[in-house]
Amino acid sequence: MIEVKDISKRFGAIQAVDNVSFTAEQGEILGFLGPNGAGKSTTMRMITGFLAPSSGTASVCGHDILTAPVAAKRQIGYLPENAPAYAEMTATSFLQFAGELRGFGGAELNGKVEAAIERCRLEKVRNQSVGTLSKGYKQRVCFAQAVLHDPPVLIMDEPTDGLDPNQKHIVRTMIKDMAEKKTIIISTHILEEVDAVCSRAIIISDGRLVANGTPEELRSASRTHGAVEVVFKEPVAGAAGALRALSSADDVDEAGAKCTVYKGGQDGGDLFADVAKLLREKSWPMISLRTLDGRLDEVFQNLTIGDDLSRVG
């Protein structure tokens, strides 16, 4: 498991990461969300020991990254951003090198390398030099390096970035397959990925942690959470006004035949029941009626758009 305590990183005048704290337990897939340049990679680089924190620290399976860096690194499998690998090496020799650095040798090393090749479906390219591989394969070679030693902690920086939908699916399946016995952190700016793989998500904006919760919890902060969407057969004049007049409704967005009714603030009444009742009374012809879960992208924008605007200004 991972425990990050008040970690900060400053590059000259730029505060890249500002007092971020969180924990991740075994069995969890923690999603690291944030716009580009928010400090996701920097935080990961500090946990993995590539960058030294300006203040604060983190511990990985009980090993502090400042006082016992090598012991901490032993527990981690790390897939850096853009999946770097030595271009002139073949996939197999690259994995062998990684395994040797992890302290394996002889038959054990070969066993680990073969297992990683099989797990990441690299048989076809095992004797090809890494520099000649396509992005998807390169990503998987680097992924294989990260899981080779079966680490209890797996940290991946944008593991699906630049992959085609099939490759994304393969990588996500590989991640989910391993989730049970590991602590996994993945960073991404793709929101669908959070729903696809993560059990919990953290949103970082401008170096600060702005949200931490399950995808459902995060979504509940969205304006559309609990809103009711009605789709009429054809646009109905006066429908929006009637819906807006409901005591449990706050506002209505009308787009053609579709009306989205947002939940009213203090009242706390049952919006769905009220809407349904109104529709029964009026018997407007409609196609669908449903409650919305809320949208992650809305929450994401609300929490992170401030720093983009200030940067433009």
Partner: protein
Amino acid sequence: MNASITIAKRELKSYFESPVAYVFLVVFLMLTGFLTFYVSSYYEVRQADLSRSFFIWHPWVYLLLVPAASMRLWAEERRAGTIELLLTMPVTMLQAIVGKFLAAWVFLLIALALTFPVVCTTAYLGAPDVGAIIGGYLGSALLAGTYLSVGMLTSATTRNQVISFVLSLVICLLLLMAGWPPVTEIFAKWAPDWLVRCVASFSFMPHFDSLQRGVLDLRDLAYYVSVMAFMLFGTHLILENRK
């Protein structure tokens, strides 16, 4: 130590996986051969002595070639991003530095060892002083390592191999010239004697001179080892600072 050797093995292999290594070896051998046999008029001098015709050129040949061999050590890792992979492995910074240094040094020693035909020629033509030849090779090997440690330091400062090459060439040139008699004579005319000697003692040259004459002085050994240690320490400092 094991990790250092793993890193060194990979690094050494990567030298030979690119054509640059072979170009390097050929240029090194052609250049030393040319300078020995033509420029120094090895045959005309009719002396079975390698120090005046062969080893004397090494500081100048290394000046061009060692920075070329060392420039990629860290700069390329940084450019390709593999440094992130390397330094997040369970290895210490020192192990990584030592591993890379050993690999590059072994590579240079291979180049140096391939000059053996020069020794064979001398042995065939006359009776050379074996002690002087061993001393010469030892001095040359140490000199190569010292240049290399400078190149390693400059390579750690940048992601651009060319910048690393130029920087280490300039630093090595300064260290070389500081003790080269034509340069020290100019300074001797106006600078106090102790200053000239002090600056000259930082130079590769006087220490290399005595070794190639076959004089194994502990002070010269200590000089090379301490310059190497200093440069590797500096590399460590730079890399830690960039974390």
